[in-house]
Amino acid sequence: MISFQLSEQQKQIKEMTHWFAANEIRPIAMEADRLGKVPDEWLDKVNKMGIHLNTSSFSGGGGEESSRKSKKEREGNRMGVLATEQMAWGCPAITLSLPGAGLGGPPVQSSGTPEQKERFLSIFTKEKPRWGAYALTEPEAGSDASGVKTTATKVDGGYILNGQKIFITNGGRASWVVAFATVDSTLGRAGQRAFVVEKGTPGFSCTKLVKKMGLRANETAELLFEDCFVPDENLLGGEKLYEASSNKPSGFQVAMKTFDSTRPIVASMAIGIARAAYEYTLDLVRQEYPKGGETSALAAEMLAEVEQNIAAARLLTWEAAWKADFGLPNAKEAAMCKAYAGQMSLDVCSKCMELLGPIGLDGHLVEKLFRDVKIFDIFEGTNQIQHLVVARRQYAAYEVRV
């Protein structure tokens, strides 16, 4: 039955994450942006609370619980998008800095061997904050996931990696990074492999933390592999995964599959940002605008448009997550929600800036959100890439590959 009402569990996670975002994240959002980092004590504190960012599903408190009820309808993806919207509403930069496997989680979860899952996912304990990361993008290939140039040369007992990765969220602090490399560039996509490279591995270094337009509290790193030896047991999924029938399950497939679950999460963040800007502005309009005047009439239309667009993005995102929960193919829906949310959220922030007027320049949250939000239309596949994915699915029935 079609329903947009939250289940009890969904309501709970939403309320819990909203509480956390409102009481723990939002209060430090502006300060973290100014500092260019999330304070260490704060990270320590929330890690002890068990708050992590797993981009496939948000885990708060008991991660064990979810395994218990595998017979019930899976709702991890829906829970994930609900939770992420709330967290990003608090502050997207801080949300992306939360301890946990982050964007590195989904590939390990979906393609790792049982041994790898245990080894890499069990390190996120309350003892101290740790991060995972995901390293696909390279200097010469932004949205082109198939153009990976980092090489992996097979040697005895492992691979030697050489290459550079850029725009890696939490890449400097991560305990491990899922890095994509090619064993033979002439094989194209079939030659791709995914490796889990651990911090401290000789030849693996973080060469730079870049300064950005926004998301300043969140670390964005450049990583370098120089004759970096990675043992066989860190090949994600093991050799078996890549030997499988034909050339389907290559590292490229791992990367693509990851997108289907991370894109709705990224879309949720954009939605959370847009909603934060909208609510902030609505409050201000309610309190400060002269009642019933023409300013107020203009604001009414703009706010209605903003609210509509946020709802539109949210429903697209829910659909993508719902499909994922049912194990249905959701590449199209994931691309749709990301494409729409990424673009709409900037527009929302810009409209809110207009409603705030010049005072909005002086220490108001909305300007920070404006700076933060732009990247959501770029990372995890630009808007253009999302349109391509949508179009490709749309034409699939006609056997035309666009």
Partner: protein, 377 residues
């Protein structure tokens, strides 16, 4: 629990509706337009399948389906042709009001449900363009003036009128052509929805006795508000059906049409437009569903959500039908292909059913007033 899965029953209904749309409605649409009249066979089939009484209650032999089911069925039907569906006889938009007034209108039941006599719904709330005066005198009302063009006016046997009288009191009138001598203006309609009997009513000091009052005061206000909400949702759903038709048609065309040595789908100038059309269509679908769900729950926010859904439906419908014409190029503009008609029908539809900016503004005022519980995800 958030879910986008239709029930088995809904899926069965939709399948029937869509088959009818593809096999009967679309192939006949051009002919109906030329004749400015529906094909009897279609009417009969639609009636037999119960699709004329989705919104009517069971006492009226209606299916009394929840809106969330109705909207899916309407989408399916309008996948065939919006104009044809708008032209269907019977209760029309008035059904959304009649359902609250069953007993009061019982004597008309057979005429409307079985004989398919037609009701036109006339909402006199627009703040300009209508110059109809409703004046109370002693034991009756005097109705005078000319209406804006409305659907089903040309073939109306009855008119349901929602209006504020000159004292500002909301009233619902029921006019019967055999009793109330209205006049239908001979108009000059060329744009679209040409089978749906768009016309203007003229009332020349028509005297309406209090018998013709279906409701007034608070009761009328509530029925008008709820009825309008339902009409908005059901109309927006029709628009989704047309959007889906235009999207699929343009997708198929661009997948096969070649230029510059390849299928034009391979040019991002084309394929990205298709992607945008797909996204917009999906968005409107969801907003309509959301409004329908809330209206079914009689949630106070349903009115606002219906405004929101209708606004987006109008905007996206214009975009999607225009895009379909654009992507077909010269073929989009000629009558051998359906998309030019769809674009005309779409513009007529949005012109007839509420101005986009008014919807937005009204919704915005509600938001700022904040006097309703917010439906928050």
């Amino acid at each position: 629990m958030i879910s986008f899965r239709s029930t088995e029953e809904e899926l069965a209904f939709v399948e029937v509706a869509k088959n009818l749309a593809k096999e009967k409605i679309r192939p006949q649409a051009r002919i109906c337009e030329r004749n400015q009249k529906l094909n009897e066979e279609i009417v009969q089939e639609v009636q037999e399948l119960g699709f004329l009484s989705l919104e009517l209650s069971e006492d009226w032999d209606g299916l009394e389906l929840p809106l969330i089911s109705q909207v899916q069925i309407l989408q399916g039907l309008c996948y065939g042709d919006l104009d044809v569906v708008q032209g269907l006889p019977g209760a029309g938009d008035a059904a959304s009001f009649i359902r609250f007034l069953n007993q009061r209108l019982d004597t008309y039941k057979t005429d409307i449900v079985d004989e398919l006599q037609t009701v036109s719904y006339l909402d006199l709330s627009e703040d300009w363009g209508t110059n109809i005066e409703v004046k109370k005198e002693m034991n009756h009302y005097i109705l005078n003036g000319m209406s804006q063009p409305v659907k089903l006016a040309a073939q109306a046997d009855y008119v349901l009128i929602a209006v504020m009288d000159s004292n500002g009191e909301p009233i619902l009138f029921w006019l019967d052509s055999s009793v109330h001598p209205w006049h239908v203006e001979e108009g000059d309609y060329r744009l679209g929805l040409l089978t749906s009997g768009i016309a203007r009513f003229t009332f020349d000091h028509v005297k309406i006795s209090t018998d013709a009052i279906l409701a007034q005061g608070n009761t009328a206000e509530k029925i008008i508000q709820d009825g309008r909400t339902r009409v908005r949702i059901l109309q927006a759903a029709r628009e989704v059906g047309l959007m889906e038709a235009a999207l699929d048609y343009a997708t198929e065309y661009t997948a096969s049409r070649k230029a510059f040595g390849q299928e034009i789908a391979k040019f991002q100038g084309v394929s990205f437009r298709i992607a945008k059309m797909a996204i917009e269509t999906r968005i409107v679908n969801h907003l309509v569903w959301e409004a329908a769900l809330q209206a079914d729950q009689e949630h106070p926010e349903a009115e606002g959500l219906s405004l929101r859904a209708l606004h987006r439906a109008h905007k996206s419908l214009r975009y999607v039908t225009d895009s379909a014409v654009q992507l077909l190029g010269g073929h989009g503009y000629i009558q051998e292909f359906p998309v030019e008609k769809w674009m005309r029908d779409a513009q007529a539809q949005v012109t007839l059913y509420g101005r986009e900016r008014q919807c937005l503004k009204k919704r915005g005022e509600q938001i700022i007033a904040g006097n309703r519980e917010e439906v928050m995800a």
